[in-house]
């Protein structure tokens, strides 16, 4: 699984799997029951809510079970700009994030590997943002950036890139840390230029980290509604799909609309991930 790269690299030891029905059941039952109850069932409920119709009483937030597939059409025709914008923001931010994170991960994982002390300090600096509320850090940018920039596409993408850099650096660091430096030496011994060595050796070997790093940031970015909201780095023209889902669910209580948008977001993301994983040749990493 690509995401395992996130937890660092621990060498797997040959295990001898056993069959012991009741022990497995005992170990799995509580956790799996929990996931069925609080992950699978809510998903089904979301899909059903997306098909609800307004109740005859007509009160706010009053809906009854129905098969109103038209909700999807209404959601799409009303909010397609937000959907498109979310994915453009998330894709742009992922690419910029990759360009900033990879050199940082390379610095920590390869360049300073011979100095464990420095490497430790740099790693701590990269994870430090995890310990300060993401909302406070985003607000800090609001007061650091010039006020003319706030509420623009630039400030939203800037904020998205910022918030997800550690999520990119860590998996990339994990795979670069595992890179055998002798391979790079071999490359230069065989008269490959540094660029060729990078392209033919380093890059392919760090692919697992790149795939999980970009996924770990692209997915949450596309559903984010903090950065783009008006109280933070967004403005009237920057609302993302997450902002729309939030306001439909929590403010106007249009549950079917919020649910239909959520399902669409999820389906589009799954299609994009599947394509990306296949294109990057990383199927076996998942």
């Amino acid at each position: 699984m690509a995401f395992t790269a996130f937890s660092g690299n621990t060498k797997a030891v040959e295990q001898h799997p056993r069959r012991q029905g009741w022990v497995v059941l005992l170990l799995l039952a509580p956790g799996i029951a929990y996931m069925l109850l609080f992950f699978v069932a809510p998903f089904i409920q979301l899909a059903l809510t997306a098909l609800q119709a307004p109740a005859a009483s007509g009160g706010i937030g009053q809906y009854v079970a129905a098969l109103e597939f038209g909700n999807y059409w209404t959601a799409l025709s009303e909010y397609w700009p937000h959907l498109v914008r979310s994915f453009i923001y998330a894709l742009t931010a992922t690419i910029i994030g990759l360009l900033i994170s990879y050199p940082l991960a390379y610095l920590i994982g390869v360049k300073v590997r011979s100095k464990p002390m420095l490497q430790g300090i740099l790693l701590i600096l990269v994870v430090a943002p995890f310990f300060i509320s993401m909302l406070l850090r985003t607000l800090a940018w609001k007061s650091i950036l010039p006020s003319e920039l706030i509420g623009t596409h630039f400030s939203v993408i800037f904020g998205l890139v910022y918030n997800f850099i550690p999520f990119m650096v860590l998996p990339m660091f994990a795979s670069l840390q595992a890179l055998d430096l002798r391979l790079l030496e071999a490359g230069s011994d065989l008269y490959a230029s540094p660029v060729t060595t990078f392209r033919r050796v380093t890059l392919p070997l760090s692919m697992p980290g790149i795939v999980s790093g970009t996924l770990l940031s692209f997915i949450p970015m596309s559903g984010d509604y903090v950065v783009a909201s008006r109280e933070f780095l967004g403005g009237t023209s920057t609302a993302m799909i997450g902002n729309v889902i939030e306001s439909n669910f929590l403010q106007t209580q249009n549950y079917p609309m919020a649910a239909a948008l959520s399902i669409m977001l999820m389906v589009i993301i799954l299609i994009m991930i599947a394509t990306y994983v296949r294109k990057s040749g990383a199927e076996d990493l998942l």
Binding site: V24, G31, F38, L46, E231
Partner: protein, 267 residues
């Protein structure tokens, strides 16, 4: 004289810029915890004061929200760590039907945007007629923390050498003794790491919390709600305390690890 190489300088320079980009807002948050109060906002620098640090609970609701976040984080972490560790052991050590389905079930929450997880749970609670509050926040946090715990602990279980447990069994230890005296202690570093990750994720979660908290406040929700009229400097103080505490913890754990490794090396 050695020629200046653009290629050589590129990585350190871009890396340093990346680090400054990462750390600038943190410096800002800490700096503004010393900002003198004038009006409600904490956006413009008014002057240096220690007043906020002397009275971190001075702003209404800020410590209630902070306490709620710690409580939610602790309870969710304990539940998620226990359930996740059990699943991780089962997934690595045993072969059984639906094993890959179960792996997929645990992986999917990490590949789902939080807004979808939040809306789904909120829809579920709405249908079930459950009133939203800190309880529903905990139920939600345990759900997404389990996945991360499973991933982190699985890596540790996979690196355990089963021969050590076999040796225990050969010495007539009961299955319970093998588990409590060999397996669990050897898994501990992984479990502690998973628990810390889980606490950090829960403590900082806003999106799922916002959908499922009703009128209850957590620290991130407090910041979101007060963002419009100005976040009090006390929020910066509490956030800085968390950062300092976490960094100290990381440094202590690291130096214990290093000294332990040194000891092993000199043996």
């Amino acid at each position: 004289m050695k020629k200046f190489s653009l290629g050589k300088a590129f990585v350190p320079v871009v890396g340093a810029i990346g680090l400054i980009y990462l750390l600038l807002p943190i410096a800002h948050v800490i700096l503004f915890s010393f900002n003198e109060k004038r009006g409600r906002n904490n956006i413009i620098w008014n002057g240096f004061t220690l007043a906020n640090w002397q009275n971190p609970c001075g702003a209404p609701q800020v410590c209630t929200a902070f306490g709620n976040s710690i409580m939610v984080g602790l309870v969710s972490t304990v539940i998620a760590t226990v359930l996740g560790t059990m699943i991780a052991i089962a997934l690595v050590r045993y072969r059984f039907k639906f094993r890959s389905t179960i792996s997929l079930l645990l992986f999917t929450p990490m590949a789902t945007p939080e807004v979808v997880l939040g809306a789904g749970l909120a829809a579920q609670f709405l249908l079930a007629g459950v009133e939203k509050g800190l309880g529903t926040v905990i139920l939600a946090h345990v759900m997404f923390c389990i996945s991360y715990v499973v991933v982190a602990v699985k890596a540790r279980v996979a690196s355990l050498n089963p021969a050590i447990e076999e040796a225990g069994r050969d010495l007539y230890a009961s299955p319970g003794q093998v588990f409590w005296r060999i397996t669990l202690p050897m898994l501990m570093p992984g479990i502690i790491g998973a628990a810390l990750l889980s606490f950090a994720l829960s403590f900082d979660d806003f999106i799922i919390t916002n959908f499922n908290s009703g009128t209850a406040t957590t620290f991130p929700k407090f910041i979101y709600v007060s963002a419009l009229k100005g976040v009090p400097a006390q929020a910066n103080v509490l956030a800085s305390i968390v950062l300092i505490g976490a960094l100290l913890l990381v440094i202590i754990v690291q130096s214990v690890n290093i000294s332990r490794q040194k000891k092993l090396a000199t043996r």
